[in-house]
C-alpha cells in the first residue's frame, strides 16, 4: 500500500440536512481517500444525491462539515470549490458546441486562447471524441453527450469528481461500455471520484469502496466483496443480490475446530463461526442462491444436505433458477451451467448449503 491510498482527501463530518421538518441526512460521516472511486448507493430517497449536492455546493447543509484537502469548504459556493459535477442529465449547454462546452470553465479562469485549444483537444482525445469539437450538442448521441459532460467536468482538473447517476440515461449495452470506460479513465487519471447510483450491480462493478445508504443513514462502507460477502444487516444482504435468510439459534460453538452449529426450521446447520458468536445467539444465516448445490441423488460426505421438492424451475440457459421447498421453508437456488440436468416441478432434489456462510445476529 502506498501512502496515498490511506490519505483522505475529502472528509464528511456529521452532516445533517433537513427539508422542512424531514431529516434527509442524519449525521453522515466518512472519508474518501485520494484516487479512490467511491460509490453512494441506495434506494431512491436515501439521500445519496442530496449528499453529492452538498459536497458540490448546490445544497446547503444544516450542520456538519465538508473538508477538502484539509480546508473546510461547506460554506463556499460551487464556483469556489475544487469539485466538479456531472449531472444525471449531463446539463450540457445546448446553445454551444462541444468545444465551447468543454472550454466554458477554462475561459472563466482566463486561460490563453492557444492553451484552451490545446486543452480542449487533449480532453476530446481523452474521451475519444477527436474531431467533434465543432458539433452542436443535439447532434450527439447519448453516449457522446456523456463523454462531453465528463470532459467538461475534467477540464479544470478538479480534486474530486462528482458523478450523479451518470449512466442512467444510456441504454443497457452502452451503459456497460461507459461503465468500463469511466473506470478506466478514473484509474488512469487517478482522480478521486464519487459516483452516485441506485443500481447496486453498477456500484459493485465499478467501485473501490461502496457506501450503502438508507433513509439518510450510512448502513455500511466497504469494498464490493465485503458488501456482498459480509453484509452487516439484512437490508444490505438483500440489497446487493438475492438472498435466502434462514433464522436459527446457535447451539454449539467450537473455536478449536472452527466449527459451530445452529438449529433452524429445516434442521441443524453447520457453519464456520465468523465473529464472536456464542451459544444461544439468535442468528440469521445468509445463504446466496448460487452457493447452494442442487443434485438429484443424495451426495455422500457433504454436510448440510437436505431433501426438498422443486416448486418452480426456470431454465435460462447459462443457469437454472429453482424454488425449492424444504419443510415449509422456501429456497431460491441458482444452478450454474445446468446442461442436461434440469429438474422439473415436484421432483425430489437434495440441497447442500456450504459451511462458510455469513451469519447475522438477530436481536
Amino acid at each position: 500500500m502506498s501512502t496515498n491510498d490511506s490519505m483522505p482527501v475529502l472528509i464528511l463530518n456529521d452532516i445533517h440536512k433537513f427539508y422542512d421538518r424531514l431529516e434527509v441526512l442524519k449525521g453522515i460521516s466518512m472519508e474518501v481517500n485520494k484516487g479512490e472511486l467511491v460509490t453512494f448507493v441506495g434506494p431512491s430517497g436515501c439521500g445519496k444525491t442530496t449528499l453529492l449536492r452538498i459536497i458540490g455546493g448546490f445544497t446547503n447543509l444544516d450542520s456538519g462539515e465538508v473538508i477538502l484537502d484539509g480546508k473546510k469548504i461547506h460554506h463556499l459556493p460551487p464556483n469556489l470549490r475544487d469539485t466538479r459535477i456531472c449531472f444525471q442529465n449531463y446539463a450540457l449547454f445546448p446553445h454551444m458546441t462541444v468545444a465551447e462546452n468543454i472550454s466554458y470553465g477554462l475561459k472563466i479562469k482566463k486561460w490563453k486562447k492557444g492553451k484552451i485549444q490545446e486543452r480542449v483537444e487533449e480532453l476530446l482525445k481523452l474521451v475519444q471524441l477527436e474531431g467533434l469539437g465543432g458539433r452542436m450538442i443535439d447532434k450527439l448521441s447519448g453516449g457522446q453527450q456523456q463523454r462531453v459532460a465528463l470532459a467538461r467536468a475534467l477540464s479544470l482538473e478538479p480534486k474530486v469528481l462528482l458523478l450523479d447517476e451518470p449512466l442512467s440515461n444510456l441504454d443497457a449495452n452502452l451503459r456497460l461500455t461507459m461503465r468500463g470506460e469511466i473506470r478506466k479513465l478514473q484509474e488512469r487519471l487517478k482522480i478521486t471520484t464519487i459516483f452516485v447510483t441506485h443500481d447496486q450491480f453498477e456500484a459493485m462493478s465499478i467501485s473501490d469502496r461502496i457506501v450503502v445508504m438508507k433513509e439518510g443513514v450510512i448502513q455500511q462502507v466497504g469494498s464490493p466483496i465485503e458488501i456482498y460477502e459480509r453484509p452487516i444487516n439484512e437490508f444490505i444482504a438483500g440489497f446487493v443480490g438475492f438472498v435466502n435468510f434462514l433464522a436459527g439459534v446457535v447451539d454449539m460453538v467450537d473455536i478449536g475446530f472452527n466449527k459451530a452449529t445452529a438449529s433452524t426450521p429445516i434442521g441443524i446447520i453447520e457453519f464456520v463461526p465468523e465473529r464472536n458468536i456464542n451459544v444461544g445467539d439468535k442468528v440469521k444465516l445468509v445463504v446466496r442462491p448460487e452457493t447452494i448445490n442442487i443434485s438429484g441423488s443424495e451426495p455422500t460426505g457433504i454436510t448440510n444436505t437436505f431433501q426438498g421438492e422443486v416448486e418452480i424451475g426456470m431454465y435460462v440457459g447459462s443457469l437454472a433458477k429453482y424454488t425449492v421447498m424444504i419443510k415449509g421453508e422456501k429456497f431460491i437456488i441458482d444452478q450454474p451451467n445446468p446442461r442436461e440436468t434440469f429438474f422439473k416441478p415436484r421432483e425430489k432434489v437434495y440441497l447442500s448449503i456450504p459451511g462458510n456462510i455469513h451469519v447475522l445476529k438477530r436481536n
Binding site: 448546490f58 459556493p77 449547454f93 472563466i108
Partner: protein, 565 residues
C-alpha cells in the same frame, strides 16, 4: 332458408340511412357549421373593413391609403403606435425578467408576495392605470398639487407608463414559465465551472431563454399597439392608431379613413401572430431527461440582487399604489381635492345599471363562447378532414386581432339585413365570443390530448353511437375546459372596451364604456368605483377558476391571453 339463394342484404329505409349518415359524419357536419360561424363572425368583418378601405363610389381605389401615408398626422399616429409598442415591450421584458428571476431563483420568502403583486394587473382592466395616473398626476392630481410636479401626463409618456404597468404580468408570466422549465442543472453546471451569477445570466440563462423572451415580446407588442383604453384616455393630442380609429368613426363618421387605420393596425398584428405561432415553435432547446430537480434558492450576488430587487420593487410598488388610488377614489368625493368619504360613487345608479348590463352581455358571450370553443376543440383534435389546421389557426387568431378593428368590422358587416345585429345585445356578446375564443379552444385541445381516443372507441365498441359517446364520455372529460372557457370569456368580456365602444347603442351602457366616458370627462370617482366593482367580480371569477385548476390540474394562467381588452 332465407339466405339459401345468396347473400342476405338488410333493406333499410331512407330514415335509417339518413340516421346512419348523420351518425357517421357528425364530426364533419359539425366542422362545416363551426367553420361557417368563424367565417361569418371573424373573417367577414375583417374583410368588410378591408373592402371599405379600398372602395369609393367609382370602384377600387388606394387613395385613402395614399392619404394615410402622405398626411403627416396619420403617419405620425403609426410611428407613435409602433414606438409605443417597442418601448413598452422592452420595458415589460426587462421588468418581467427581473421579476421572474426573483420569483424562481430568489429568496424563498420573497417569491410569493412578489408574484401576487405582479399578477395584480391581471384582475383589473388595463385602463385602471390610466385612471390612477390621472388621480396622481392629472391637472388636479395628488402629486401635481402636493409637489407641484409639472409632468404633462396627457401624451406619449403617460400612455407608456400606463401600458407598461398593465402588461408587465403578461411578460412576467411567459418568462417565468420558460424560466421554470429551464433545467436548473444547466445554471448549476456553469456555476460549478466557476462562473459568477452575472456571467451565468449572460451566457446561459438569457441565451437559453431567448426564444421564450422573444415570444413574450411579440405578444406584449401586439397587445400594446392594439390596446385602446389607455391611449384613448391619456393620449391627449398625441395620435395613436387605435384611439384615432375611434375618433374617425364615432367623432367624424369617416368610415373610409377609419378602415384604413384599422388595416394598418392589423398588419403588424397578423405578421406577429404568424411569427409567434409558427416560426418559433421549432426553436426550443431540448435536454436529456432525468429527474427534475427543484431549483434550490442560492445566494444571489449583490450585483444581481440589488438591481433586480430595485426594478422589481419599483414596479410592484407602482402597481400597488395605482390599485390603492383607484380604491380610495371610489370612496372619496374627489380624491386629492375633497377627501370626504362618500358612498355616492359606489351607490351610483347608472354605474350599477352599466355593471348589470355588462354582466348580462358577458354571460351570453361566455355561454356561447364556451360551447363553440369546446366543439371547435373537439373538431380540431378528433376530426380527420382537410383544413383542420386552418380552422385551428382562425379560431386562435382572435386574440391577435385588435378590438377596434373587430368593432369597426362588426359595425360595417352587421349593419344591414340579412344579418342586422347593430343596436342589439347579441352584437355586443358575439364580438367577445369570437375574439376570446382562443383560450377556450386551447383549454379544450389540451384536455382532449390528455385522453386517449381509445376511450371513445371503447364506448363505440360497446354499442354507443356518436351522440351517446359525446354526451357520456367526451363532455364529462371536457367539462373543466368548458368551465375554464366560460369563466375566461366572461371575465374578458366584462372588462373589454376596445370593440364594444363602437357597438353600444344609446340607452344601453356597458360598464367598460361608462368607465371610459367618465374618465375622459374627468369624473374620476365614478370611473374608479365602476372599475373597482369590475375588479371585485373578476377576483370572484379568478377564485372559481383557481378552484377548478386545483381540482382538475388544468392551468389556465399559462394559456395565451391573460385579460385582453
Amino acid at each position: 332458408m332465407a339466405k339459401a339463394g345468396g347473400l342476405y342484404v338488410p333493406q333499410s329505409n331512407l330514415w335509417e340511412r339518413v340516421k346512419t349518415f348523420i351518425n357517421a359524419e357528425l364530426v364533419n357536419i359539425l366542422a362545416v357549421v363551426l367553420f361557417l360561424l368563424l367565417v361569418i363572425f371573424l373573417l367577414y368583418p375583417i374583410i368588410a373593413v378591408l373592402i371599405k378601405s379600398v372602395k369609393d363610389p367609382q370602384g377600387l381605389t388606394l387613395s385613402y391609403y395614399f392619404k394615410f401615408f402622405t398626411k403627416g398626422y396619420y403617419f405620425r399616429s403609426l410611428l407613435n403606435t409602433l414606438l409605443l409598442g417597442f418601448i413598452n415591450t422592452v420595458v415589460c421584458l426587462v421588468v418581467g425578467f427581473c421579476l421572474a428571476y426573483l420569483t424562481t431563483r430568489g429568496p424563498l420568502g420573497l417569491r410569493k408576495p412578489l408574484k401576487i403583486v405582479t399578477m395584480m394587473p391581471l384582475i383589473a382592466p388595463p385602463y385602471l392605470f390610466a385612471i390612477s395616473l390621472i388621480i396622481l398626476f392629472g391637472h388636479n392630481g395628488i402629486m401635481t398639487k402636493a409637489f407641484g410636479i409639472q409632468w404633462s401626463l396627457y401624451g406619449f409618456t403617460g400612455v407608456v407608463v400606463a401600458q407598461t404597468l398593465a402588461f408587465i404580468p403578461l411578460a412576467y408570466l411567459m418568462i417565468e414559465n420558460t424560466l421554470r422549465s429551464l433545467n436548473p442543472n444547466l445554471e448549476e453546471s456553469a456555476y460549478d465551472l466557476g462562473a459568477s451569477e452575472v456571467r451565468i445570466i449572460r451566457t446561459i440563462t438569457i441565451p437559453l431563454l431567448a426564444p421564450g423572451i422573444l415570444k413574450a415580446g411579440l405578444l406584449v407588442f401586439v397587445m400594446t399597439i392594439a390596446e385602446f383604453g389607455n391611449a384613448a384616455i391619456l393620449g391627449g393630442r398625441t395620435p395613436f392608431l387605435a384611439p384615432d380609429t375611434y375618433t374617425m368613426i364615432i367623432g367624424e363618421a369617416d368610415f373610409e379613413m377609419g378602415s384604413v387605420l384599422s388595416i394598418v393596425l392589423i398588419i403588424p398584428c397578423i405578421i406577429i401572430f404568424f411569427l409567434h405561432n409558427y416560426m418559433l415553435t421549432g426553436k426550443k432547446f431540448t435536454t436529456i431527461g432525468g429527474k427534475p430537480v427543484a431549483s434550490e434558492p442560492r445566494k444571489m450576488t449583490p450585483f444581481v440582487k440589488i438591481p433586480f430587487l430595485f426594478i422589481s420593487c419599483a414596479a410592484g410598488l407602482a402597481i400597488v399604489i395605482c390599485f390603492g388610488m383607484v380604491l380610495m377614489a371610489s370612496f372619496t368625493k374627489i380624491l386629492g381635492v375633497n377627501n370626504e368619504l362618500v358612498l355616492t360613487h359606489i351607490k351610483n345608479f347608472d354605474s350599477n345599471l352599466a355593471i348589470y348590463n355588462s354582466i348580462k352581455v358577458s354571460l351570453v358571450a361566455a355561454f356561447i363562447g364556451a360551447i363553440i370553443g369546446t366543439l371547435l376543440a373537439y373538431v380540431i383534435v378528433r376530426g380527420k378532414f382537410f383544413g383542420r389546421n386552418f380552422i385551428e389557426m382562425i379560431s386562435l387568431s382572435g386574440f391577435a386581432l385588435p378590438g377596434t378593428v373587430i368593432g369597426i368590422g362588426y359595425l360595417l358587416a352587421f349593419n344591414a339585413p340579412p344579418l342586422k345585429l347593430t343596436g342589439g345585445i347579441m352584437i355586443l356578446a358575439l364580438n367577445c365570443v369570437f375574439r376570446f375564443l382562443a383560450v377556450g379552444v386551447e383549454a379544450g385541445i389540451s384536455k382532449l390530448h390528455q385522453i386517449n381516443i381509445e376511450i371513445e372507441e371503447a364506448s363505440s365498441d360497446l354499442g354507443a353511437n356518436f351522440l351517446t359517446t359525446f354526451y357520456k364520455i367526451v363532455l364529462p372529460i371536457m367539462f373543466p375546459a368548458f368551465i375554464a372557457g366560460f369563466i375566461y370569456t366572461f371575465m374578458t368580456a366584462l372588462v373589454s372596451l376596445s370593440a364594444v365602444v363602437f357597438l353600444v347603442s344609446p340607452g344601453f351602457e356597458l360598464a367598460a364604456v361608462r368607465i371610459f366616458d367618465r374618465a375622459v370627462y374627468g369624473e374620476i370617482g365614478n370611473a374608479s368605483a365602476t372599475t373597482m366593482k369590475l375588479v371585485v367580480i373578476v377576483i370572484f371569477c379568478m377564485v372559481i377558476l383557481n378552484y377548478i385548476t386545483k381540482k382538475t390540474g388544468f392551468d389556465i394562467s399559462q394559456k395565451k391571453g391573460s385579460v385582453t381588452v
